[in-house]
Subunit: 222 residues, 2 copies
């Protein structure tokens, strides 16, 4: 129905619109590494297909149809990532690039079997929610490790990136989803944080890294 190219546009529009609701041609062009005029013509095409609402010089919005398609692609992506980690035993840092390809596979059976084998999972290996087959997605407000108060203990719930280099960095630091960490100290100068980790080791993260880690507060200082 949609081409692989169109699917990638739709997914990016969805990702960018999560915050603001509206997406600009320039943002989308930057995200997709494509020039603005190319994005402009694609928007005309997607508007014709009723996937986006688009008026010149105004922003881009996904229609209901567009949102549904975006969620379906995201579902396939995250299901694939989890399958690659749980069933095929690949590392969380190497699955994103493969899932970028698998998400375009057109086969209900392929995905429904994944879903069954994984027992209808709710989160992908990076802690991101997997939309259900009706497009419902679990959204919770999350706290960034860069905002956690000193002295609090929290559990790592998600990481906001699935780029290999970022995940390799977390692997090197020994951090995983589900780990409990206590924020020992935040440096006022550069925002870097020192964590107490279950491994007993102290871990130092820069602000750049800490702000991409989402946590759930588990214990409050008494």
């Amino acid at each position: 129905m949609d081409s692989l190219t169109e699917e990638n546009y739709i997914k990016s529009i969805y990702a960018l619109s999560l915050a603001t609701g509206e997406v600009f041609v320039s943002e989308l062009a930057k995200k997709l590494n494509i020039k603005q005029p190319s994005v402009n013509s694609m928007m005309k095409r997607l508007a014709t297909k009723k996937v986006v609402a688009y008026a010149p010089y105004k922003g881009i919005r996904l229609t209901e149809k567009g949102k549904k398609e975006a969620l379906s692609i995201i579902r396939r992506h995250r299901l694939a990532e989890l399958f690659l980690v749980k069933v095929m035993e690949l590392g969380w840092e190497e699955v994103h690039d493969i899932a970028e390809q698998l998400e375009h596979v057109d086969s209900k059976r392929f995905y429904s079997r994944m879903d069954e084998m994984l027992h209808f999972p709710k989160f992908d290996p990076h802690g991101e929610p997997i939309p259900d087959s009706n497009g419902k997605i679990y959204t919770q407000k999350r706290t960034s490790l860069s905002d956690l108060a000193e002295g609090l203990t929290a559990t790592i719930a998600a990481v906001g990136e699935d780029e290999k280099s970022f995940l390799d960095h977390l692997n090197a630091k020994g951090l995983q989803i589900g780990d409990a960490v206590t924020l020992k100290k935040r440096e006022p100068f550069d925002g870097s944080v020192t964590l107490q980790h279950k491994s007993k080791k102290e871990i130092l993260l820069t602000h750049q890294v800490a702000e991409r880690i989402w946590v759930e507060v588990t214990f409050t200082r008494s």
Copy 2:
């Protein structure tokens, strides 16, 4: 390196050339459901890329490079099919269409994990040999069930089609790879055969079906 389209051409050229060695534009066009002039221009392109040797009005031949690529695509296809059957528990009749898509996934890790999980398998779910990672393929001369002498018992080794409709037909007849069958009778009029099957049932197959089933003779009449 090669586009999905180019990969599909290469795979088809390989399949068609197995018998004769040379492939004609008309055959390839028919197989790919593409018009002759389109095939003609693609052959020029693949010739430039040194994947095929092609001279106007002569046939098409894959170069060594082209053969290597064909075997690599076939390897990915068959590994994917077996993975879908053994790991994901899909039926042998539903995996071909998915494998047509998975074979184009660009990821060594994805395929090497499949290979490991399946313990470096030699045959796909339809009995076709899986080329190894160096492109070596196991070719044995096979006997068609349509040529098996009356009274002989043989084991079903492979089926020469992976179209769903054909495999659905075999499912309906209760035939699987590995089953022992004894050829009870061949009708001279239409070439249809009656088999004695392990299920104790007698199975009647038309010539059209029997000629697509490959067997290994296990017992000879004394």
